[in-house]
Symmetry: C2
Subunit: 424 residues, 2 copies
């Protein structure tokens, strides 16, 4: 295989014709393959099946609290203890919520708009302009929350060490910049682990906005795919030590530990923040589902038991990641038309196609029955200025389907590149 | 027992001294009795224990949907069907949420503020003034939601047929009046069932505000305490027939059917409303806990099975309501110092003490170890202009404790009345 840049026009035409033939054959099969979302597959879901029958007539209580009834707005103490251990925070810094960390994030932003955060001079709805920093490529649902509230989204480049800190340090001098989105471990989609220096610089930010909010989405805190659990520093402690204890809100959930739709989500924040947020939360609910919290505590037990479960997930995920990476290594690498990450954990492979070809490649994929995350989704407003980044989510399909989907994907990426290089 | 108004000063002094003696005896016991909230008791919680072990390795799916995984933002179709049957609406008008209807109500109001409702000219946060109608006595948590968003709360009197409709019809001419709170069946706290005429007049309201929102909290839709299920008209149909299909949002939950903290909540609204709200909800969450929805469907099955369960609840609640009503009949009725409701369902007895004595009576109760809903809680801003209404919640304590608590309550109500009538 020759790098595409070295092909003559005729060679490109021949190559394209050959790919088109393969493409048509796949198209004729009427496949329906999905690599769109970081959705665990059936094998993974089975790992937590025993959790479902743990509670019953004799088990509904912990810490003297009847989990079935109303009350305990901030969550079951035993659940706080478990999550504090997983995140390396203190139990009193934990709020245990419902089934979705996304809701906890949304609700925090919504409260910032309607009531303001702890140090807000006024509710954000009363501000002329609210800007938010979006390290990109990033998680589309984060950006969509910001967008839905009418924020101005500011793209920050991602480096191999995390977001471009020089750009962030400059941006936070603007008092209308109210916060930033972060996925610090196995970032979505790049799979990057923020470096020690990056994390230190984030904790030591001195933003002009007194209510600047670091939205620290530690979605993949224990989600290694290759290797053992990698310890990670506690951002709450770092911010406290840097003199800004209330600047950060950390989020996590068991969506990719137990059940995506029936897990437990948490928000970790300073005790002062928790006090303030709980005072607002008391209007919104009497309590989250404590039975599901208790169910999780009974099943996950502690960090050690949880990490054992995560290794079982990793066993299931590894062949899927390998299928993606092997396909790219074999079919794309020699052509020198794209780069991609080889993450050690998380749920994604971030693929950068030849600039200007991502949309076209995914449109071809769709025609051949392969659904991917939309091109541009990983950037603010859904617009990738390079039209290059594609998020590959290998977790859901069985390995055989994944291999097939990746074959199609590679064909489409190559066709789009050849079209870009010119066929006439 | 002589009506207090007919007692001489000396008789009042003697009566007070006698009550004070009993009060001190109770005080010495150091009791801790709670009639504060409509919280089901342990016997009731046991009724739903079998629900906990219904799901497992072989049961996690319905309608071809894996309830464990992400997806189905608006809820499991089988759960929509169940709740549509219970409420008399159509399944496509149902959104099945998390464990708390209060959150669904709060979230709707929050979205009205940040994004606006379907027919809002602008988000409510951009309005100079937002007023909300509060039939009172009413549910404190409703009023608190409104208050927390800075609304101006307008008290509407309750009659035995529901809220004073003439006052409402007049109030809605003001375009800044954006909605009203309703508990149409077994109202909290009066236990009133809105009359046919009241409901018709509500459905036929022509408010000046195009986005006027009837918050129809049907919390006690199947919660008979005495007698069989009383059918109730579907407010969605009535509003549609009156030409205002999008004016109403109906809420209900299984908090007092299965588990208060681990139930399932629903919002029923027109298809157009659902479409609009779902478009906003998509930013907030990927899906609610569908496993808990499925668990409920397996357990409650259909309306008939649900009503059978509600009759078991009623069996447990009846002696508690009787304990309250008997105590009042025996110890208060002859004195002619108070009125109260004798509800056929719901969770409360609404007690109107001699005007100007509710706070004092509850303060005495507290001293004797009996916790009640705070005086004034049933009115906007927590201020009962008459200082008269007290909400009695009989469900939680065992009958013996309840009898004791009611003895103390009656003593305190009588002492407060005598103090008001004058002791010197």
């Amino acid at each position: 295989m020759t790098p595409y840049s070295q092909l003559t026009l005729q060679q490109r035409q021949e190559e394209y014709a050959s790919l088109q033939k393969q493409f048509s054959q796949y198209q004729a099969k009427g496949l329906k393959l999905n690599m769109a979302r970081g959705k665990p597959g059936t094998e993974q879901l089975l790992l937590s099946a025993p959790m479902l029958s743990l509670l019953g007539i004799d088990d509904y209580e912990a810490d003297g609290i009847d989990a079935r009834n109303y009350g305990e707005l901030t969550g079951m103490p035993c659940a706080k203890k478990l999550f504090a251990e997983l995140l390396g925070t203190k139990p009193e810094e934990i709020l245990v919520g419902g089934n979705a960390s996304l809701s906890l994030m949304y609700d925090l932003i919504a409260k910032a708009y309607t009531h303001g955060l702890l140090h807000s001079p006024r509710p954000w709805a009363k501000e002329e302009c609210v800007k938010f920093l979006c390290p990109s490529p990033g998680y589309d649902r984060h950006f969509k929350i910001s967008e839905s509230f009418g924020m101005e989204l500011i793209t920050i480049a991602m480096t191999e060490n995390g977001p471009d800190m020089a750009a962030i340090e400059e941006a936070v001098k603007d008092p209308t910049v109210k916060g930033m989105w972060c996925v610090p471990k196995y970032s979505n989609p790049d799979g990057i682990i923020y470096s020690e220096e990056t994390i230190d610089r984030i904790a030591n930010l001195k933003p002009a906005a007194p209510d600047f909010a670091i939205m620290w989405d530690n979605a993949y805190c224990v989600h290694e795919v290759y290797g053992e659990f990698r310890p990670f520093r506690d951002i709450l402690t770092l911010c406290r030590e840097a003199g800004s204890p209330d600047m950060v809100y950390e989020f996590a959930s068991t969506s990719k530990i137990t059940f995506p739709g029936a897990g437990v989500a948490v928000m970790a924040a300073s005790v002062e923040n928790q006090k303030y947020i709980t005072s607002l939360l008391a209007y919104q609910t009497i309590s989250y589902d404590k039975m599901n919290q208790l169910r999780h505590v009974r099943f996950l037990k502690d960090k050690e038991t949880t990490l054992q479960l995560m290794q079982k997930h990793a066993q299931i995920l590894r062949p899927r990641f390998s299928a993606v990476l092997d396909a790219l290594d074999q079919n794309i690498a020699p052509l020198n038309i794209a780069q991609w990450t080889k993450p050690m954990g998380g749920y994604f492979v971030s693929f950068n196609a030849m600039p200007g070809t991502a949309k076209r490649a995914l449109s071809l994929c769709k025609e051949a029955g392969v659904v991917m995350t939309g091109a541009g989704a990983t950037f603010p407003y859904g617009k990738d200025p390079q039209d290059s980044n594609i998020r590959i989510a290998p977790s859901l399909p069985p390995v055989e389907e994944l291999e097939q989907a990746m074959e199609i994907f590679c064909i489409c990426v190559r066709m789009a590149a050849l079209e870009k290089l010119g066929l006439s």
